[in-house]
Symmetry: C2
Subunit: 337 residues, 2 copies
């Protein structure tokens, strides 16, 4: 269907359009890439590519620009991920090594990725499911309120306040705390629900209501909340693009955790790069943006995802290289901590 030269033409169109942001014509194409044929020949090829839906022209008698389908073919078959330069690698290292905290790792990562790609970076907090409980703390706060703190092996600390609605004696709290630690210490988070189910039986009946409240909050905290937390950076990089009308939509999407979740997509292997181009991600208002995302984590197991959002007219090889490199490095950092 598409011979080698037509594919070369498509690649050249994508590359030129990405770098110049202007529709590219047949003459410019033969000038900048030595294709060894004349503009007229290119025009014939372009007509075929257009008929098949890989490129389009904004107006009659303008150059061609790639369609989403064209970018898709480019990403899948015509490009190779561009490795980062040495200075870039070094920047990643020095920047991320300074982090002292999970929060800090995430916030540094997102800023780093935004700077590297000059686009909007999005990072999801690592999931806890693969880590274990290291310690549970239960502290009275004010009259009828407790603070529950769970410390996990990957350095994460989750906290929640709990309304008890009745006064609780210090003894009861101490007892409950001891019970929790005895039962949960060292346990993988995935096993927590089972372990928790057995606990109420061991609590004196007076404290049952309080224990129930604590346990339900504990489950909520570990199982649900943290999965959703996502941060972004680099919104300023959108401004110099000519988004104009849809800029507002994009900014709105970035402030919606749920939307960002869907954008980053399902967690898979750590190493897999996902690219969603234009209308491939269903969201209204993100029709002209692409997302390059990857899982990151320890070993092969992805803990969460991170990625970059930019215009469909994006440097895919470079962006993919940056996302992959950062994802790997963050994985190493997390493994070491």
């Amino acid at each position: 269907m598409l011979d080698d030269r037509k594919l070369a033409v498509l690649r050249a169109i994508v590359e030129d359009y990405v770098s110049t942001n202007e529709p590219v014509g047949s003459k410019a194409l033969v000038d900048r890439h030595n294709l060894g044929v004349s503009p007229a020949t290119i025009r014939n090829d372009m007509a075929v590519l257009e008929e098949q839906g890989y490129i389009a022209q904004p107006h009659t008698s303008a150059g061609r620009i790639p369609t989403d389908k064209g970018y898709r073919l480019f990403v899948d078959r015509l490009s190779t991920i561009k490795p980062l330069s040495t200075p870039e690698r070094r920047a990643i290292e020095t920047f991320l090594n300074g982090a002292y905290d999970l929060d800090d790792v995430v916030s540094r990562t997102v800023r780093l990725l935004a700077q590297l790609t000059r686009q909007v970076a999005v990072v999801q907090y690592p999931s806890l499911t693969r880590s274990s409980v290291r310690h549970v703390e239960l502290v009275p706060v004010g009259a009828q309120r407790l603070l529950l703190v769970v410390i996990t092996t990957n350095g994460r600390v989750e906290q929640r306040t709990i309304e008890t609605f009745t006064d609780v004696t210090d003894d009861s709290i101490a007892h409950l705390r001891a019970l929790l630690n005895a039962s949960l210490d060292g346990r993988q988070l995935g096993e927590v629900p089972l372990a928790v189910a057995e606990l109420p039986a061991q609590v004196p009946s007076v404290d049952r209501p309080v224990a129930a409240a604590v346990l339900s909050v504990l489950l909520e905290t570990l199982v649900e909340k943290h999965e959703e937390k996502i941060v972004f950076a680099g919104a300023a990089n959108l401004a110099h693009l000519d988004f104009s009308q849809s800029l507002r939509d994009v900014l709105e999407a970035l402030e919606e955790q749920v939307v960002l979740m869907r954008l980053l997509g399902e967690a898979g292997d750590s190493s897999t790069l996902t690219v969603r181009i234009g209308t491939e991600n269903q969201l209204e208002g993100l029709r002209s943006t692409s997302v390059v995302a990857a899982g990151y984590g320890v070993g092969d197991q992805a803990l969460a995802r991170l990625g970059v959002l930019g215009p469909t007219r994006m440097d895919y090889p470079g962006t993919m290289g940056a996302v992959r490199a950062v994802a790997r490095y963050v994985g190493q950092i997390l493994a070491g901590s």
Copy 2:
């Protein structure tokens, strides 16, 4: 210098310009406000106002727009803070009451304020200086690393990892933890540095280096880090404004914690509203934005600040009302927890 009618003219110009976003002329002015005089008279007044620097015209033969100085006079003398409507108050209540967490309070507050004012909201995390230590936890994490967790009375949890560079026995850790809690529990954060200074003497000399590392991290955590944390929301509200060239600058400023700190300004009384108009805040790129900020906290003591950033052409009375109301309500929430 400026008689009552000239002030009324200035007020009318500000109000009209804010609502229409177009330079306002003498005829439109007498039509919309019943000033009881003719356009020619208004023109004379306008000439005076312009000479004094309160208004300016974009071009000869265009209407007038307020200058920063004009807005300043308007805010100081010509406007009264607009109280929120009942539905708005109710929205604040229901929205903020659902929060279960300090993080949650802050993130809900910032989104609420952005929505109420349809501008960019900025909220600083509450300072810890007025609260007390409720509990200190020290947990081994991996081989040569400790996790320090400090729980404070206002429900905040601070965490940091510490490199020890040597192996530490569980006994040493337990001892150090007991020591920390004995010495710091219930102490106001302001007093912590003094209390900490006395601790090393009570540690066996073998553990001195580790203790020193822990204490220095403890001080850092409580005294420095948390003061800087600031979040924002509502960037999408900037898009529909015609910022165009400076939009990038504004977005960049919003991602710089330090810049946001300076924007919110010094903490003063809880109840004081601060308004910085245009060039009054020295920052490049924020020349055409204004900031309305207020301290919030428990009682009269401000713990931190929150505010709104928008174009100088802003509804000051409405924005000030929203900021004041939200600040008060957040104070109540914090006092109750």
